[in-house]
Subunit: 187 residues, 2 copies
DNA sequence: CCGTACATGAACACGATGTTCAGTAATAGA
DNA sequence: TCTATTACTGAACATCGTGTTCATGTACGG
């Protein structure tokens, strides 16, 4: 373990200001449309200061996304079992609706969506492993992508509809679809 | 029907050049990284000319994507039944691998992915309607998003892996997942 | 052959990026 | 409290992409 010296108070403050400003701007104009200029204006921070902390917009966002990953992993620990993150994420999304819509909704940029997809896929893979999913690793990977993609799409749709349906209902439907499929005879 | 006067030969030529140049650049550097400058350089076309035809990069791409939509709809007509587009798309993707990877793979921009997702979702909705899917329209929509998201994710993964597995196998697995789900007891 | 529609390319204003640097302030540690 | 260190500032700068304009040249259709 590297000795993690507690960072200078100014550093903490600046990073916090920048992260908060980014989220506020993303909600306001979307990720792609948000410029570094917007962020530093909102945060009241010098231009040079931004680049002293983060090489670009993307890295700044990534630093913030670690929190979400942590939260989901934690919830998964609390509520074990496959798709343990599902309900947790749906509820978390609803209580941060504007942010989620900006990040994972129809208007968001590609980069963020991919990151979140990866997070979900990783969690799902843990689930499948724990269940002793039979089949080649390749098949497991395919199933994991299937699951993550499906979940992301449902989440996106739900958010874009205003997240009116209760999380429990969405969670239930997703589970049923994942479990039994459409339960329709396909060709 | 509007009388579709056949366009000036120069117009056809210019539009073709621009579309081809865009695809070439997307394969080379990805959609986001491709600039209008790149496109007109590659196409050997004046800057003003570009903007005389398309307001921006996005519209140029959209004009091209109509072709794919047409092709998928056509294939669906030929091979009716749910998920009729699945195998067709997988095969089409494999025979245009670099382009597909650039467009729908991990490196692509958000805009294109959303467009393709929409195309697939629309096709899937036709399938479900034809099958007499029971349940509220809202539930059907959710199922459609689920299906499209899952398919897109699998396609993305497959492409990023180099599309080594045969399309028929992927198609079969996707069908099974959609039909029966993971066939695992979930909590 | 001629009038029209299109292509050209250069110039322009604008805005965003990322870097540099000298000056100033806040901080941690003694 | 004092001091060396570290961080922030703000302005300037080069670079690049965008989208518009316009006068000029040229290929097209009829």
């Amino acid at each position: 373990m590297a000795k993690a010296k507690k960072p200078d108070r100014r550093v903490q403050r600046t990073r916090q200001l920048l992260q908060d400003a980014l989220l506020a701007m993303v909600i306001e104009k979307g990720y792609d449309a948000t410029t570094v200029q917007d962020i530093i204006d909102r945060a009241n921070v010098g231009r040079a200061t931004f680049y002293a902390h983060f090489p670009d917009k993307q890295t700044l966002l990534t630093s913030r996304l670690e929190d979400l990953r942590g939260l989901l992993t934690e919830r998964r620990r609390q509520a074990p079992g496959p798709l343990g993150f599902s309900l947790a994420m749906l509820e978390h999304a609803r209580s941060h609706l504007p942010l989620y819509r900006a990040i994972v909704g129809r208007e968001s940029g590609a980069f963020i969506v991919q990151r979140i997809h990866r997070t979900i896929a990783d969690l799902a893979e843990l689930d499948l492993k724990a269940l002793g999913f039979k089949g080649a690793p390749e098949q497991r990977r395919l199933a994991v992508e299937f699951l993550a993609g499906a979940f992301m799409a449902v989440l996106t749709w739900w958010l874009d509809e205003g997240a009116t349906l209760p999380p429990e209902e969405i969670d239930g439907i997703v589970r049923r679809l994942v479990m039994q499929g459409l339960a329709i005879k396909l060709a």
